[in-house]
């Protein structure tokens, strides 16, 4: 029987993934720690062997963050031979950090992002911009990855990944292609004038109805989003080296526009910058374990 299936695509739905990145033999190594970052939209689990990234997973945060924490951690460990029981110390971070069942300690995502950025990009990092699913943080830190000051927007969806998800659905472009699409215009249009995602969505819809191509509307939306983030960032000041972390780093449309407005190039990441928070947590876990064991 012939059947036509009409599928409504969920354009906001971004892909989940896991990787093992080290060839080391964990059995002959010292300390195995994990950092679990339960974000409002995405959850990240990292496994570190002697303070080096060994494996990780990135997945969407589900309705029950406790289950997500377990899933993300076991997924990161999958195929490595490491069992949850082998983990010497686990630190939870992120919005749902209190819901990581096997975490011995929780640390704020601000501290973890600064620490993780220091690990990913090195000691020259002074300003970390973390653009996450439901918040955006500008962090100033020292050469040890210690937080000096920070500013955060967690009240408004404008300038966060959640806003991009809403927009992806509006223009029916998969979220992972959104940045590229927004950069495919010959000339940058003026930014969407509304800050609020709800109003910006209505404004974008009006532009589409006026006959603007998707690319141009996407460019206008991304430009507004970059403006919004720059407002936050300039309030803490941008000192070099400047880096961007969080899920929105996957959107080149936002990253390139930020660099253009700030006239500062962000450092190239040596590993997936979505992991910064979880990596920071994993590194804190190592230090805490060493302290606990009297190793330092």
């Amino acid at each position: 029987m012939a059947q036509t299936e009409v599928k409504t695509q969920e354009y906001w739905r971004w892909p989940e993934y896991r990787r093992t990145v080290s060839e080391r033999d964990w059995r002959n190594s010292g300390i195995i720690t994990a950092g679990v970052d339960i974000g409002s939209v995405g959850s990240k689990a990292t496994v570190l062997v002697d303070g080096e990234l060994y494996a990780y997973s990135v997945m969407r945060t589900g309705g029950v963050s406790e289950q997500t924490a377990i899933k993300a951690t076991t997924w990161a460990l999958e195929g490595t031979g490491i069992d949850v029981g082998n983990l010497n110390y686990v630190v939870g971070t992120g919005y749902g950090r209190v819901n990581v069942p096997f975490a011995k300690k929780t640390i704020t995502e601000i501290a973890c992002h600064a620490r993780g950025a220091h690990y990913i990009y090195g000691p020259t990092v002074r300003t970390v911009l973390d653009i996450g699913g439901q918040d955006c943080k500008a962090i100033r830190c020292d050469d040890k990855g210690k937080v000096l000051s920070f500013l955060m927007n967690d009240k408004c969806a404008a300038g966060t990944g959640r806003g991009l998800e809403v927009f992806a659905d509006l223009i029916s472009v998969p979220i992972q292609d959104l940045g590229k699409v927004s950069l495919s215009v010959d000339q940058e249009p003026s930014p969407v004038s509304n800050t609020c995602v709800i109003f910006a969505k209505a404004e974008s819809l009006a532009l589409l109805r006026q006959g603007w191509p998707k690319e141009r509307v996407a460019a206008a939306y991304h430009a507004a989003m970059a403006d919004r983030i720059v407002d936050l960032l300039t309030r803490v000041g941008v000192e070099k080296d400047f880096v961007i972390t969080g899920g929105v780093t996957k959107n080149m449309g936002v990253v390139q526009r930020l660099e253009r407005i700030l006239q500062v190039k962000a450092l190239e990441p040596k590993m997936d910058p979505i992991l910064a928070g979880a990596l920071g947590a994993g590194l804190f876990a190592k230090a805490l374990y060493e302290k606990e064991q009297g190793l330092r």
Partner: protein, 261 residues
């Protein structure tokens, strides 16, 4: 003298036709993609109800977000455009002459206006965030799968206070979904939604100070669930006039009759 006030809002266009302080007709309709056409259609309806034609109207004053779309443009050809603040103050003065504070909550904007004898003394506006306007309740109704007009009555059935953490419409939608998942009743969620918007409106209005009499106008004043939490937040009683969504159009019509005011 016969005048008209046309309030072209973000969502609805409202028309009031006035003859010597007596309302001859009121009409409202959704604003579509073509603002001029939507407003003109409502204007036509009001004229018909009053048994008049455009030439019978001596002066037309426009207000609202889309006011410039009808200024000097036929068929309405409004003679003058005034801000929502001026129109809201003038209209509230018409219905409650003792008014000192006007709270105007529309589809996309919220306003607090300090008034003395119908004249504006001070005001605050939120036009940047949907969480402080009617759109918020509408979006939450969608998440709750309840008709927007049922939201107020539903919330009045609840005596519980569940705090909503989200300040943003987009985030609040997710929060409503998780409240549903944690088996909180629709009544309690509806109440939480109204408490949240009342909290935001009151903190905005408190910036200019609240003095009696307080009059609530705009489309959100039609929502019975919005008034009690707002009264509680502001520690004062609030007057809701009979046709709250027409008050700014009335103010525009009154101003058309007496431009010096």
């Amino acid at each position: 003298m016969i005048t008209a006030g046309v309030d072209v809002g973000a969502k609805f266009a409202k028309v009031v036709i006035l003859k010597d302080r007596q309302v001859l007709a009121r009409a409202k309709a959704l604003v579509g993609f073509d603002v001029l056409k939507s407003a003109s259609d409502v204007f036509e309806t009001a004229l018909k109800d009053a048994g008049l034609s455009r030439s019978d109207i001596q002066r037309v004053v426009a207000t609202g977000m889309g006011r410039n779309a009808i200024l000097q443009k036929p068929p309405i050809s409004a003679d003058e455009a005034v801000s929502e603040v001026v129109a809201g103050a003038a209209g509230a003065y018409q219905v409650v002459p003792t008014v000192k504070t006007v709270i105007d909550v529309g589809a996309e904007e919220g306003r607090g206006i300090k008034v003395e004898g119908g004249k504006v003394k001070d005001f605050v506006i939120n036009e940047r965030c949907a969480a402080g306007a009617g759109t918020f309740v509408e979006a939450m109704a969608r998440a709750l799968e309840v008709k927007v007009e049922d939201m107020g009555p539903l919330s009045l059935k609840s005596a519980n206070s569940i705090p909503m953490n989200a300040q943003c419409c987009v985030f609040a939608e997710s929060e409503v979904v998780s409240l549903i998942h944690s088996k909180i009743s629709k009544e309690d969620i509806a109440k939480a939604i109204h408490d949240a918007i009342a909290g935001r409106i009151s903190s905005m209005v408190l910036r200019i100070g609240v003095e009696k009499d307080v009059v609530l106008i705009g489309g959100c004043a039609l929502n019975p669930g919005f008034v009690p939490p707002l009264e509680k937040e502001l520690h004062t009683s609030i007057t809701v006039p009979q046709f709250p969504e027409f008050v700014s159009a009335l103010g525009a019509a009154a101003r058309a009759a007496n431009p010096s005011r």
